[in-house]
């Protein structure tokens, strides 16, 4: 499985890690004498873009998790839905326009099926993370070495700042991922495979982010030389944007080092020149008018409204006149009032999937927030699903 050469490289990389001090900036210039960074014990998925998990059983458990999740949502969930809508209709309540969650929960009472389905959804989420965390950590030294060795390589750059003052809201273990985005050095690996299960898209080879990159709007004057992704996570969108715009300067920032380190490792592996920095979206450190296009994919539902305001005024500052802002996220309640089903699912997501800020986000009016920040809003932006996503974009006055 893991060969001897890989093992030998490990100790060299581990030494490199211990030499690091803050703030830590790595560029291709620091290359660590041809360290082989790629640890791929079981090869990659058919397209060659995403590595297979390091153990067959891990892959199988993930396969089960995805199928069980699908069953609890679609099969079991749909049965429950029929039942719940029946109860609501009996009480002359329109199920497509949900009462507030307190009222809905009161009506549901202690319905065993609805709560059993929630148990299933929660447990499968826990099993899924446990499997990934245990599995990657069983090979921890090797994966840490892989990350460390990629830090010394290009293409692309990685700037880490261990002393960054991360706001409290960004420290929560969202999606109940153990350690969240910041607390597990292998969090990037865990997130990548975990989120594919959550989105029922296990074999995705970045397919979603590649499709998203295809529809990112460009400024009216056609100039697209510089791009920034806020809350970039493991940098799947910047990677896909580099493929669409090979000559543009592509940047991504995030508060979480484990996510960025993994993203940089993949950039090296895929040979894509992108720049990743551990910085705050509300204080990006970029010069005013720097970017032609700025995106944020599923960032804002994880941010309190107060801080969203700060991020939006920072966007306004660093976007160049005529530049485009494309914040892709879930619909807010003002865009579509929730059905009883989505109200209940979103409550589960908020309380048991630890989406701490998502209800506050859904209660906000995002178009209005962008207007308050001085941006010109377009509520008919390109979207991969009109029913699901917010379809918003904004521009800065030319």
């Amino acid at each position: 499985m893991l060969d001897r050469r890989t093992l030998l490289n490990t100790s060299a990389a581990a030494t490199a890690v211990s030499a690091v001090s803050a703030p830590h900036k790595v560029t291709s210039k620091d290359a660590l004498n041809n360290l082989q960074h790629d640890i791929e014990p079981r090869g990659s998925l058919p397209e060659g873009r995403v590595e297979k998990l390091p153990e067959l059983d891990m892959e199988s458990r993930l396969d089960f998790a995805q199928a069980f999740r699908k069953w609890s949502l679609r099969d079991f969930g749909r049965n429950n839905l029929k039942q719940l809508y029946g109860i609501l209709e009996d009480q002359n309540i329109d199920p497509t326009n949900s009462p507030p969650i307190e009222k809905l929960l009161e009506i549901i009472g202690d319905d065993p099926n609805i709560y059993t389905a929630m148990r299933c959804k929660t447990t499968v989420q826990q099993i899924m993370w446990k499997n990934l965390v245990d599995g990657f950590h069983a090979h921890k030294d090797l994966y840490l070495a892989e990350l460390a060795s990629a830090e010394g390589q290009g293409p692309g750059t990685l700037e880490l700042n261990p002393t960054l003052n991360i706001p409290e809201y960004a420290k929560h273990e969202i999606h109940i991922q153990p350690g969240g985005y910041i607390g597990d050095p292998l969090g990037g690996y865990v997130y990548h495979y975990g989120v594919n299960v959550f989105t029922l898209d296990l074999n995705s080879e970045d397919i979603f982010h590649r499709s998203l990159a295809d529809i990112v709007p460009v400024p009216e004057d056609g100039k697209m030389n510089s791009f920034l992704d806020l809350g970039t996570g493991i940098a799947q969108l910047p990677l896909a944007m580099k493929e669409r715009f090979p000559n543009a300067d592509i940047w991504g920032i995030d508060t979480a080092a484990p996510m960025l380190r993994y993203g940089h490792m993949r950039a090296v592996e895929l040979g894509l020149d992108i720049n990743l920095c551990q910085r705050l979206a509300e204080d990006t450190q970029f010069e005013s008018n720097s970017f032609d296009v700025i995106t944020a994919y599923i960032l804002f539902h994880e941010v309190p409204t107060e801080d969203t305001r700060k991020i939006l005024s920072e966007v306004k500052r660093i976007l160049r006149p005529g530049g485009v802002f494309f914040p892709v996220d879930f619909k807010t309640y003002d865009q579509r009032p929730p059905s009883a089903n989505s109200r209940l699912n979103q409550w589960w997501d908020h309380v048991y999937n630890n989406e701490v800020w998502t209800e506050e986000y859904r209660d906000s009016n995002f178009s209005e927030l962008m207007r308050e920040a001085g941006l010109i809003v377009n509520e008919n932006a390109p979207t991969l699903s009109k029913n699901f996503w917010n379809s918003l974009m904004a521009t800065k006055k030319a």
């Binding site: 890690v17 067959l56 069980f68 069953w71 099926n113 709560y115 299933c120 826990q126």
Partner: protein, 108 residues
């Protein structure tokens, strides 16, 4: 050694875990038993899938090594047959959870 910063550049210790206990079924013991039961299904499926691979390899080659098993990439036909086998397993075993004996039941 530099004592500039004790925070490693790899991760931090101050992530905030979920605050609400995940008890849905009125008694945490029942919740725990349910979770173990679902986790066993996950382990069972890992064994079943391994068995499928071993059988497939034996049929094709007459012998197997651990490396062949770990590295096996199922064909599209195998993947769809195994997905079907997995989904039937889930329905057979966990379909019981859908039995409804509650007062809330609208129609039977």
């Amino acid at each position: 050694m530099s004592n500039k910063s004790k925070t490693p550049h790899t991760h931090r210790e101050d992530s905030i875990p979920p605050q609400t206990p995940d008890v849905f079924l009125g008694n945490p013991v029942i919740d725990n038993v349910m979770s173990s039961m679902i986790a066993l299904g996950s382990e069972f499926w890992a064994l079943q899938r391994r068995m499928n691979i071993v059988e497939t390899l034996l049929e094709k080659n007459g012998s197997v090594t651990n490396e062949m098993i770990e590295g096996y990439q199922p064909t599209d036909d195998e993947t769809s047959a195994w997905n079907n086998q997995r989904d039937r397993f889930i329905k057979r075993v966990y379909g019981f959870l859908q039995n409804n004996n509650s007062d809330n039941k609208k129609d039977s």
